[in-house]
């Protein structure tokens, strides 16, 4: 039976697995090596399909773990042939790095901040800054429409850099680490930034976030997800934003 690897926790925390109840799935098990333990689910088949059920299972296990202890999440899709191979080829050689990462993440949570442009508000803001676009507004003809749309999109892109900067300036001082902002793919997405925040700094972070929300309204609406599994900070050394 192959083992799907979800993440790594401290060996002293393995008793949390007994209290985990992820509905509709077999409870995860642990593979111990010295003071670390990999959390795994036995899986038939030699390949892991990225189905909705499998993706959700991996996510839910990590969320349940994260609510109880410090976990270093694995990327989805890691399948090892057996416990011996997992120890021999990963837990033993990577032991030093795993211990360091667990220490870095202890008493921290990942909070993921998404900013979205409120369409009418951001369009008004761009029109106010771009007289040519304002003149094209309401003009008939395919080419006029294309130019207008292009100018609006360009105006939003220009604004985005400034908004990312504002968000980072406000919140980075309250975070232990900041992941590089994810590239935006939808035109109305302003930014997606992950922060690693210590339990002690959480209240200050949230307070500053509320103020940022007020500063950016009504053009940008903010959404904070988390705590989420610290995927963005799982690497041994995550790049810090300075």
């Amino acid at each position: 039976m192959n083992l799907m690897v979800h993440g790594v926790i401290e060996a002293s925390s393995v008793e949390v697995l007994a209290s985990m109840n992820v509905p509709g799935t077999t409870p995860p098990e642990s593979v111990m090596h010295e003071d670390v333990a990999a959390v795994v689910t036995a899986t038939p088949g030699a390949e892991l399909f990225p189905t909705r059920a499998n993706l959700l299972h991996h996510t839910r296990v990590l969320e349940a773990l994260g609510a109880r202890t410090t976990v270093v999440p694995m990327r989805f899709g890691v399948l090892v042939p057996d416990a011996e191979a997992l120890v021999r080829e990963y837990l033993a050689p990577a032991h030093h790095g795993l211990v360091g990462t667990l220490e870095r993440l202890r008493d921290h949570v990942e909070l993921r901040l998404r900013g979205r442009y409120h369409e009418p508000a951001v369009i008004e803001a761009v029109l106010a800054a771009d007289p040519r676009a304002a003149r094209l507004r309401g003009r008939d003809g395919f080419e006029a429409k294309m130019e207008l749309g292009e100018r609006i999109v360009a105006g939003i892109e220009h604004r985005r850099d400034q908004d990312i900067d504002r968000a980072l300036r406000a919140l980075a001082p309250h975070a232990s680490e900041v992941a590089a902002p994810t590239a935006v793919t939808e035109p109305l997405d302003a930014f997606l930034i992950s922060f690693l925040v210590s339990d002690g700094a959480r209240a200050a972070f949230e307070h500053r976030l509320d103020r940022l929300g007020e500063e950016l309204a009504p053009v940008v609406a903010l959404e904070l997800a988390g705590p989420v599994p610290p995927f963005s900070f799982a690497a041994e050394q995550a790049a810090a934003w300075a």
Binding site: G7, E47, F142, M146, P218, V228
Partner: protein, 140 residues
């Protein structure tokens, strides 16, 4: 988009968990630790899937969307303009010198759509037998 988004003093929405699968899919597929020798899933296929779909959404469609959205801000003229806009768009696509470009973009887009669809089937087709327990999970 609700009216409160425009007028509320704080616009921060808080969600305790990762959210929908669409939200986490990028993250769980390309972040987190890996054991290089034991990645047993075609991550490349997944990345292509999202890129293909985004090609369709990009460029022409996006510009037209924003042009329409901008013009719709003027509520007084909205109703009568809407018909004119449609006529205008159809005329523009059929008759102007951009015709060739639009056709090419259309072909590209439908090609991407087709291959995206195949991939979605390949990826999510496995789900059928599991969807039942999945729904129970959602209700729990």
């Amino acid at each position: 988009m609700s009216a409160t988004m425009t007028h509320a003093p704080s616009t921060v929405t808080r969600r305790p968990q990762s959210g929908s699968l669409a939200e986490v899919i990028d993250i769980i597929l390309d972040k987190g630790l890996v054991i290089d020798a034991y990645v047993r899933v075609s991550l490349v296929g997944i990345e292509l899937l999202t890129i293909d779909i985004r090609v369709v959404v990009a460029s022409v469609d996006t510009y037209l969307h924003f042009a329409e959205a901008t013009n719709r801000l003027d509520l007084r003229a909205q109703a009568e303009d809407y018909d004119a806009d449609l006529q205008d768009l159809i005329g523009g696509m059929a008759g102007s010198k951009t015709e060739g470009a639009m056709d090419a973009a259309g072909d590209k887009a439908s090609g991407a759509l087709e291959s995206g669809k195949d991939k979605i089937k390949a990826v999510f087709g496995q789900d059928d037998e599991e969807s039942e327990s999945e729904e129970q999970e959602a209700e729990a």
